[in-house]
């Protein structure tokens, strides 16, 4: 069996790398076939903009998963950070006014909270030697409770006075490219560089692939792992920064199940759930695929709404199957 793999390594690897792109193209063709409006620039811009949230979070998740961890708390963390940002900015409107400073302080708060929340996940799991699954399941409940508590069970709304100032962060564009897409691109490129071109990224691969070897290679395993959770937290905070100006609110229903979507994007993109191998571009495509599937389902009424979930599930399975390229073997 390994012989087989060895033998066709050259071809298979190439195909594996472009696999997700192929699957995405197939989805785009499907979308166009279902409704011409799919290819309208407005719709495409929607798809890319929407993918940004999950995409940015998933870039962070790629680090965590590559280094052999998992983070279930990202959705709650996003809700919590969004809530805290709103509270802080609403407070500042009174004193600082509705200028750019208020927004900037909000952003700084968001980043600090993201880093802090990530550090909590990382430190508790590494120092406490508790499975990341359990720790982040716990903090998932924790962060969500905190936002519910802050919002008194309801919704925290950004002061309308400040919305105008903050609005361009989501609704603005540069040369016609929406801001969120630009940020997503920036995060993806930064993530790519960090994961593939720096010692840090190399160490993530090493830890995910064999912790003992990493330890014997003078890698501070706990530190690197904690850093991956901090990067995850930072990514969540960036995603939140572009999320808040969109609807200007946060509640206990914000970000529900984002963790599942983020992890799914990562895995669809070809990163291994067991760690040791990660691929940022795959993750980006994975996030785009998930959004596109949702979009396509909204563009047709051929399918009973009740069956959306089924179609979504089947498309994900088939897309991943196609991109793995294993079906090509059968031919020989």
């Amino acid at each position: 069996m390994s012989a087989e793999t060895g033998k066709r390594a050259a071809i298979t690897i190439d195909f594996k790398a472009i696999g997700p792109f192929v699957a995405l193209v197939v989805l785009f063709i499907l979308g166009t076939a279902i409704n011409e409006a799919f290819l309208s620039s407005g719709n495409l811009s929607n798809i890319f903009t929407r993918s940004s949230f999950i995409g940015i979070i998933a870039v962070g998740a790629t680090f965590v998963i590559t280094a052999g961890g998992i983070d279930l708390s990202v959705g709650s963390m996003a809700a919590f950070i969004a809530g805290a940002m709103i509270v802080v900015m609403n407070g500042l409107v009174q004193t600082l006014g509705t200028g750019i400073e208020t927004v900037l302080i909000g952003i700084v708060v968001s980043i600090l909270l993201g880093i802090g929340a990530g550090a909590v996940n990382g430190l508790v799991s590494t120092r406490g030697k508790i499975e990341a699954f359990i720790v982040t399941l716990g903090t998932m409940g924790l962060y969500r409770s905190l936002v519910t508590y802050m919002a008194d069970g309801g919704t925290l709304s950004l002061d309308f006075a400040i919305r105008g100032t903050y609005r361009p962060v989501y609704y603005g564009d540069v040369f016609g490219i929406p801001m969120p897409v630009l940020v997503f691109l920036g995060v993806a490129i930064a993530g790519y560089v960090l994961l593939n071109m720096t010692p840090f990224g190399r160490k993530c691969f090493a830890i995910g692939s064999n912790e003992q070897v990493a330890l014997y290679s003078a890698i501070n395993v706990d530190r690197i792992k904690t850093l991956t959770y901090i990067i995850q937290g930072l990514c969540v905070s960036i995603a939140t920064i572009i999320y808040v100006p969109r609807l200007g609110s946060a509640s206990s229903s914000t970000g529900v199940l984002w963790e599942l979507e983020a992890i799914a994007a990562v895995i669809i993109g070809g990163t291994m759930l067991k760690g040791g191998y990660g691929r940022i571009w795959g993750t980006v495509v994975g996030a785009l695929m998930l959004t596109t599937i949702g979009n396509i389902l909204n563009l047709t009424d051929a399918i009973s709404n009740y069956l959306n979930g089924a179609v979504q599930g089947l498309i994900i399975i088939v897309a991943v199957f196609l991109q793995r390229g294993d079906w090509r073997r059968k031919k020989n």
Binding site: G6, K7, M197, P199, R202, N210, L215, Y216, S217, A218
Partner: protein
Amino acid sequence: MRLSGQGICKSFGPAQVLHDISIDLYSGEVHALLGENGAGKSTLVKILAGYHQPTSGQLQLDGQPTRFATSDAGEKAGVILIHQELNLAEQLTVEENIFLGRELTRGWFLDKAAMRAETRTLLDRLQCDISPDARIRDLAVSDRQMVEIAKALSKNADILILDEPTAVLTGREVEILFGLIRRLRTQGVAILYISHKLDEIKAIADRVTVLRDGRHVATRAVADISKDDMARLMVGRDIAQMFPDRVADATTPVVLSVRDISVPGRVYNAGFDLHRGEVLGFAGIVGAGRTALMEAIIGLRVRSGGTIARNGTDISITSLSDAKKYGIAYLTKDRKGRGLLLNMDMRPNLTLLALEKFGSPLIDRKAEEAALETAIEAFDIRAANRKTRVGDFSGGNQQKLLLAKVMETDPDIVIIDEPTRGIDIGTKSQIYHFIGDLTAQGKSVILLSSEMPEMLGLSDRIAVMAAGRITGILSGDDRTEHEIMRYATGISDKNGASPL
């Protein structure tokens, strides 16, 4: 003739590693297979046992053409292979591993009592006192190998293939294994035996087949061939001198001074001095605590008490990166579990320990490639392809890559744990000379080895450990096998009371 391979060829992708090889195994005969690292020995035996399919050529069993579609088919036909690479499930126990896939049952249930008893019997036959309930991951490598052998024994082989079984075994264990092989031979089992140790081949084998670069070079009766001839056939040239000529100079300054280090339960109050340009050997029976001591020194293991001084000043080492900072590097003896990332190719493995050298903030790929180029050259690493996973390398080439990895940090003090495990005789000599060159450059080497010749041939002084204590440090003419054994078994102890 029991089993034979006729005109076997094998390619992995574009690389052909076996060219038209034929080999015959007879009942009641021990047939040795010899060749350099990467010559294709392991690949050939995997084909004979059904783990790989030949690209062309065929197998014959008792003269009948046959095909083993899987290793299982091979085993059913009585062909049992003990892998060079340990092939055990780490989280399972000894007993669970031995009976994996063919558990004894009573009705629907596991017959644990029977399996445990059977395991005990098997281990007893190997005079091995590990518990059937021990988990593999808690065992030392040599014990794991004994489990591997026990597992093969339990399968009642007609044709037994052993791929470098002794690379990780101690002298005593080798003796036990040889006794066993001789007994099996008289019972009519056909045995194929791979080793880089020519003494062993002389001692145990009837015939020997030599491979070079995937090609059949010769098959001879062992009685008709000298060790030198074997080495020559294998390497294709004369091996000039095994060990480098070195002049010990005991007056150089002390670069590393260790005092009073203990590791709870494994090492007690160990201390020694290491001089500049010196090779300090550490001998002892496996499990004596050499590895534990070194791991404590370099910060990989919690130690209690003691001091470490570098060039006369006390230093504190709490992690391997501290050790690295002080110019100390360590080569582990567990190359698969702790040494190499098996699912990756050579480049990231080579540079992992010395990553900061290859650029910051970004890794300089060109520099990495250049380092790889140099390392391949310097350590004679032979891989079919740059992109081959290290896990698919031949065992010896993995070892060379590991050595190259450690040397990337350019250390002043190198602690080498079993450096030539699984290395062919030609390359061994290269490594010895390499160590010689290091000391000539003023670097110091601590050599942990279970191979007496290399211990005696390389070391200026030899520290001997027994049951966690350094029982003596031998120098000059005291460095004899006999003396080492006296200290290693605790009969002599210069450093105080008997440890026992």
